[in-house]
């Protein structure tokens, strides 16, 4: 656990680290060898796209742009493709509003760099995306955590909390982070009313919403709801996007769409010489051709099978758990009966050969002890079924002991 190792290092290391180094701990995470991985939103290997032609083209174009330093904002041809891509969702923006980044994670980090001072509060759902929490923690952010209902982040609860802070003269939050479509980890998709209300609250209370939307195009059924960004009239929403979940994470291409003033400042914080233009060229090529939309259709069909296998697996092997069937995305959130120690279940599951995430990692402050987060993206439907069976076995064993 990170807090134990941080404690150890303070006393043992010869080096004087900054506080943020202690917050994140000292050891790089690795998957348990040989285990069925249901813990991470990895890409499904058989559906990674064939980019041989695009890679060759990128290499051939080297004299002009792909092997030279690229512009900090990103390649113009890619930014224009992104403008067209989000226009399909009702987001209207220009090239100058688009900043290319190393995935949505890097965009989140750049936003934190320009807005977050240590101790600044960020509004998040509880639970929320675990890696986003780590990135925000690295900036020594504090969290204002708000529950979700079936319509998404609870706006009434948020309003009550914000009014309380205002009355007490406390520092008001500068940012909100949320995943409105197929929420990671809960799978909830936010209603349109809720989206409109949160955008209005962002304006009223003066915070910026970071709308993280990696899964939007992976919808298995039901109607899409316009992004929060489409309701934003005064630059209070930054839309974060990525091709990691719809093409390939290894290309490391994502984006932030926001007010020019904001994305320019985010660009200035890039300490990486600008996002890899070689990959950007490949992605622009894939977006421009029919290849990406075709790929998304195929992948959605496959992910639907994965989702079904996991939901059915729970019904069969772990019926004590409450699960919400997500209409898209990569993740399933499982609530075990009150009093169950999800961490112990996950630990036993690894021994049996399946890796899932303890839900506690998804909570910013108060943690719930009886949740698991599962991803159905990485392994095929048959293996998912086997993984859930082993998880059920782990749960049954611990239940019998209790």
């Amino acid at each position: 656990m990170w807090f134990q190792s941080a404690f150890r290092e303070i006393y043992m290391s010869a080096f004087r680290y900054a506080r943020r180094a202690e917050v994140l701990g000292d050891s790089v995470y690795d998957h348990a060898p040989g285990a069925i991985v249901l813990s991470s939103g990895l890409a499904y290997p058989p559906h990674l796209p064939d980019v041989v032609r695009e890679a060759m083209e990128a290499a051939r174009d080297h004299g002009t742009q792909t092997l030279q330093y690229g512009p900090l904002m990103g390649l113009e041809e890619l930014r224009d493709e992104i403008v067209r891509f989000v226009a399909q969702d009702g987001v209207s923006c220009d090239r100058e509003n688009v900043l290319v980044t190393y995935g949505a994670k890097s965009a989140l980090d750049l936003a934190c760099r320009i807005f977050v001072e240590p101790g600044d509060r960020i509004i998040v759902a509880a639970p929320t995306y675990m890696t986003a929490l780590q990135i925000m923690r690295a900036h020594e952010a504090a969290f204002l955590d708000i529950s979700q209902d079936e319509e998404g982040l609870d706006a009434d609860e948020l309003e009550t909390q914000l009014e309380r802070l205002r009355k007490n003269g406390e520092r008001m939050p500068k940012l909100m982070f949320d995943v409105p479509d197929f929420h990671n980890p809960t799978g909830i998709t936010m209603s349109e009313n809720r989206r409109r209300r949160l955008v209005a609250m962002a304006e009223h209370y003066g915070f910026i919403i970071l709308e993280d939307d990696p899964y939007r195009r992976l919808r298995f059924e039901g109607e899409a709801i316009p992004p929060l960004k489409s309701f934003d009239e005064n630059g209070h929403v930054i839309a974060l996007g990525t091709v990691s979940k719809i093409l390939a994470p290894g290309l490391r291409v994502g984006w932030a769409i926001g007010a020019k003033e904001i994305v320019d400042r985010m660009a200035m914080q890039k300490a990486d010489g600008g996002t890899n233009p070689f990959s950007q060229h490949i992605v622009a090529d894939l977006m421009r051709s029919n290849k990406m939309s075709k790929h998304i259709d195929d992948l959605s069909a496959e992910m639907r099978l994965h989702r079904n296998a996991m939901v059915e697996g729970f019904a069969e092997f772990l019926p004590d758990a409450k699960v919400r069937k997500p209409q898209g995305g990569y993740f399933l959130w499982a609530e075990l009966p009150e009093g169950t120690n999800a961490e112990a279940v996950a630990a036993r599951a690894v021994e049996l050969g399946v890796e899932v995430s303890d839900g506690r990692l998804c909570f910013p402050n108060e943690t719930s002890r009886n949740h698991l987060r599962l991803a159905y993206s990485f392994v095929d439907a048959k293996t998912i079924r086997k993984g859930v069976r082993l998880l059920g076995q782990a749960y049954d064993e611990l239940k019998a002991q209790a």
Copy 2:
């Protein structure tokens, strides 16, 4: 100027930025259209490598690694190549000591993330690499700036300053940043004695040296001196490397070599989903084959011609300037006569069609007003000669006015 725009934004923006956003300003730098660029260490386009074969191989290998999320530390095959590459310089390390990053800039940023609290002092030469200063400023670092002599950063002056800080009970520096080979901007190569002494001082005073070494292999004459890292026995040196200057900046692959404890913590701070594995695969391929070393030989021969053209250009067109002929690297540092306003010379030069950097950007605190930094990497020898002629014309005009 950044301080003016920061001032303006504080009053005009609707958004509440963090301090570090104000430090870096709000506008992304662009080259003057049509100008001969002698201001940036860009790659020489005719010598960018042909990576078509390697790019195809990377795409074909997609099922296994290049299109999936890569390991935070970097691909093992690339880390092993880097171990072999630095062994040629006398640096002995293992795979576990190597962290792959988006160029040396990103490695510097990660080191700042784990070591620098706002107000922490970093030891730097004055002048030093301007972009490194910006990255360190983004972490709200303060600077302890030390002069250089012909042997590199002045160790006597540093010792005096450190003893003064210690006696006054002030916060001691945690980091030193320097470019010992073909220093950016001065072109000075640090002597072996100086290297040994600085490593000993790092141990004695408990700071970490960030040895930024992008230009080492681009030596035109004279004998190479072992890196500081080769004299480091207790993990007080982090060696930063990159393929930006010896292969292609667009690949965005660099590294940090340090104590396992340190590079692990740096990896934890990556907020970008890990360095692009597609590019890593291409670079590993180029390092493994004979292609990279052949490329470095050709590029060095070309850069030698560029350097000669620039030095000769100064002798002919700007003899008032004192320049030091660098034995390698990309940069030339020109000292104009006392009282010359280098900023005005650079501004007039842009009007005449050549872009050079005002040396003030290279100073952390006290600035000298009569220096220019020039890069000879990007344009050919003939264009360099023309550029220096135009610069000489700008200087002559301003001298005549004065």
